[in-house]
Symmetry: C2
Subunit: 523 residues, 2 copies
């Protein structure tokens, strides 16, 4: 049952603010019910509840946080019967994709549950004291990561579950012990309310404070302003556009006390096809890349938006493989009319900059976006660096390089990226070794003979990169490293044993991996 009101802790918000509706992108139909924007007082109340919940969330035993996350995962699975149709209605994504995303969302909740339960993520360090040291006694020092306090999470449009109000940011923040005030993305408000209800039920069931999670709706930007500006909010998580991320960063910086913003703002995700791979795979590789571009109607942060190949054997096959697969795909509904419009405008801008369509694009309107394959030369790309920017949607730009030297110039000129992909065959190894340092300086993840879409959630994943891919180049928003975004190291000097957090107590009652006088052990 979707009510259309914010959840301020467990309590529904009030009518009064501007309302908005979700829309079915495939049919254009308006979806009920209307959603009511949260008032300033409701934002404040949500943050106050989060602040009041922070000590209990921090003090909760690791088993409790872990159980909460498992309970949320189970709750999402139990709600699948209502949840999946609503996601499909709000996004026009096909059922297998939605069910897959639900499984991934539950998987990441359980992965963070494991991380919270195991506990070594706090990076405990103990340095023994030496009171007799001269000229000065050596203090006993112990430090560990502890939660920042209440954080704000902005749900994304393109993964309403996995990066939505209860996606990876919320899962990792709750695992770290931070209460979350989430802002629903206006393209998936019903989905957001459903998952928020699941979180509220899980908090109740696990005996954790209901103020540890709130969900806010907004037809505009007032809630974001007030939420990010609230003095009790200690950090911000966001996945979305460069413009959106930059706006949140600006809000966070202009606070009397600025706070960290972890904004993942997308990328063009260049694919570099080396000569051996080009000659060997040509058309087949074009089809593989096209499938990655078309996946989710191109609405992935890791959509491969630029393909760099040196003219030579296989180039024409690569081009025709891409063109065949992409021209065969009909226009498809994007997540919202604004996104589709921005996509069409992005294609127009690229064409105005001299990128040529390889095949005539189907006309499309409303929420629909038609696949587009553009092409240009490395020389033109270097003259028109705007062509290096992401066009969010089912498009990619094939760049013909005259030689490897020209390709290197293009790579050196790229802005930072979430991913860089290398296609190679055994004969390409020397060239790959030569390019690899450039690619790794550019991106958070370097892939070999694969496609960047389909971001695996695990311990080793890095979904990040320098500006403009993200606002926080030293973090990741996917994978278990993401938990560290919501904590900071605190050091205790000469603390009495009984005042220390359990993770730092001498006997290691939690059995954590710790760095003791510089050596790892779990004794």
């Amino acid at each position: 049952m979707i009510h259309g009101f914010s959840l301020i802790g467990p309590a529904p918000g009030h009518p009064g603010g501007a309302t908005f509706h979700a829309q079915n992108p495939a049919t254009g139909a308006r979806l009920d019910p209307p959603f009511h924007s949260a008032s300033g007082a409701e934002v404040d109340r949500a943050v106050e509840l989060a602040e009041a919940a922070a000590p209990a969330m921090e003090a909760a035993p690791r088993e409790a946080r872990s159980a909460l996350l498992c309970r949320i995962a189970a709750g999402l699975e139990e709600a699948a019967g209502e949840l999946v149709p609503r996601v499909m209605a709000e996004t026009a994504l096909p059922e297998p994709r939605v069910r897959g995303e639900l499984a991934r969302t539950c998987g990441q909740l359980r992965l963070f549950a494991d991380v919270a339960a195991e506990g070594s993520w706090v990076e405990a360090r103990l340095d023994s004291g030496h009171p007799g040291r001269t000229p000065l006694p050596k203090p006993d020092l112990r430090s560990m990561l502890q939660p920042l306090g209440p954080v704000a999470v902005f749900g994304a449009s393109n993964f309403p579950l996995a990066f939505g109000a209860v996606g990876g940011d919320t899962a990792s923040a709750l695992a770290a012990g931070c209460p979350v005030v989430a802002k629903a993305h206006p393209l998936n408000p019903g989905t957001s309310e459903q998952v928020a209800q699941v979180v509220q039920a899980a908090l109740l069931r696990e005996g954790l404070p209901s103020g540890a999670f709130s969900l806010l709706f907004d037809a505009g930007h007032d809630v974001a302003r007030r939420l990010v500006g609230h003095p009790a909010i200690r950090a911000v998580g966001f996945t979305g556009s460069f413009r959106g991320g930059s706006a949140l960063l600006e809000l966070a910086r202009n606070r009397p006390a600025p706070i960290p913003v972890f904004a993942e703002m997308g990328a063009a995700n260049p694919v570099v096809v080396l000569p051996g791979a080009l000659a060997a795979l040509g058309s087949r590789l074009g089809q593989t890349l096209a499938a990655s571009v078309l996946n989710g109607v191109g609405q992935f942060c890791t959509c491969p938006g630029i393909v760099l190949a040196v003219q030579g054997p296989g180039f024409r096959s690569l081009r025709s493989g891409l063109a065949e697969a992409m021209s065969a795909a009909p226009p498809a509904p994007m997540l919202g009319e604004g996104l589709a419009l921005a996509y069409r405008r992005g294609l127009e801008r690229h064409q105005a900059e001299g990128a040529n369509p390889v095949f005539p694009s189907c006309p499309s309107q409303g929420c629909f976006g038609a696949p587009a394959l553009l092409e240009t030369t490395a020389q033109d790309l270097l003259r028109r660096p705007d062509l290096m920017e992401e066009v969010f949607g089912p498009a990619t730009l094939l760049v013909a390089c005259a030689d490897e030297a020209e390709r290197r110039k293009v790579i050196a000129a790229f802005p930072a990226q979430l991913t860089a992909t290398l296609w190679m065959e055994p004969g390409d190894e020397a060239l790959a070794a030569d390019l690899l340092p450039e690619l790794r300086r550019l991106a958070g993840r370097v892939l070999f003979n694969g496609v960047p879409t389909g971001v695996e959630v695990g311990h080793a994943m890095v979904h990040g990169g320098p500006w403009p891919a993200t606002s926080a180049p030293q973090s990741t928003s996917v994978g278990t490293r993401a938990i560290a975004r919501w904590a900071r190291p605190i050091c205790y000097q000469d603390a009495p044993e009984n005042l220390l957090p359990m993770a730092l107590q001498t006997g290691n009652p939690l059995g954590l991996w710790r760095l003791r006088d510089g050596a790892f052990d779990r004794h």
Copy 2:
């Protein structure tokens, strides 16, 4: 031999820019030689050399980076005969303090050498692939921290060795594999040139690229602007004033591609004296705190600038202990006339806000600062929050609280701090347990029955905290965690074994502690 020119890699800069002199703060004497500001072209050249050195520094085996740091430490010790007198002349700090700081500087270089040699700081993670997984194959993912590239380090005034051009920021950046372009603090240019020569000699001796370290002089702020604005600089380290740190942050934000700034900007470092400790220690505690305030003429980021005590048994003794020790200390030379002037103005501002001097301050002028004990009430402090700000110098503010409730209000109103200190006796434990969550939310380090000055360099130290104590609340500028500031995680997906960094190769040839499929081991 001090020449007065920047070191652009190994090559001296050229005359032409504005010149400035160091000064002996105790005598006012101008110290030779004049120092020549680096030109814009010299700044660019230093960064270009650093950029060219970055691949070799990154690729250097861990033993080479470790040997470099040990060589620098040995070089500083060998240069002590010339270095110590120059530091003393530029700072008026007493010889034991300077020799102690030199030992600490060499100690931290060797500690980072150990960290680099051991190698597990890269946090290697390996997740096995599973090509047969359905519905999608699971990729092989491996990630680790890798160096950011060239970084800018701003030497501090108050620790010309330990936080100077070759202090903790430079030691940790070189350990991480990042070339450093250092800007000398204008109050210790001769010291900076001497230590820079040691680094150049060490790079040469160890066969590492000379472009991995440069030193820039500047009479003004042009070098900082150009350096932080240079596109090849990937991060900034700074220890100094709030104003200085904020200015660098602004420069870094306004770049086309913003970069992280790790600015440690000082704090008032509140000391909370609980009733049992107050009654038991009174006057003796006053003397202990006074010694910490007077240490280094109060010019420590961790100088205890605010003492909170509830009126009751021992309060008058604490006050008189502080007053006796502080009034007995004569005015002493601060590091420069600008700092001394800012100190005197800070005291005037505090008095204008209603803080009363406990004893009449000695008149002082020029570089000299006279110890000052001010007092106020919690009520007045709450009304005048400017009194919570740091006055950099040998001063502290004794705050009389009417009761514990009032003290809690003050603690809740504090801006963030580098440290918070609790003095307690066995009877104070319940109160301490109650206050501890508040204190740890406030600061990067919480101390018990000690003084915050004397920051131990070890694995567990945290010298950091939320804004305004630092610009990067999740980092520390002291201790081995500091190395992580200069690196970011990079993920390799399905990479051929021979293209992987050694730290990520299957056989673990470096014997690192790694997280393999979620479990720590070193196999």
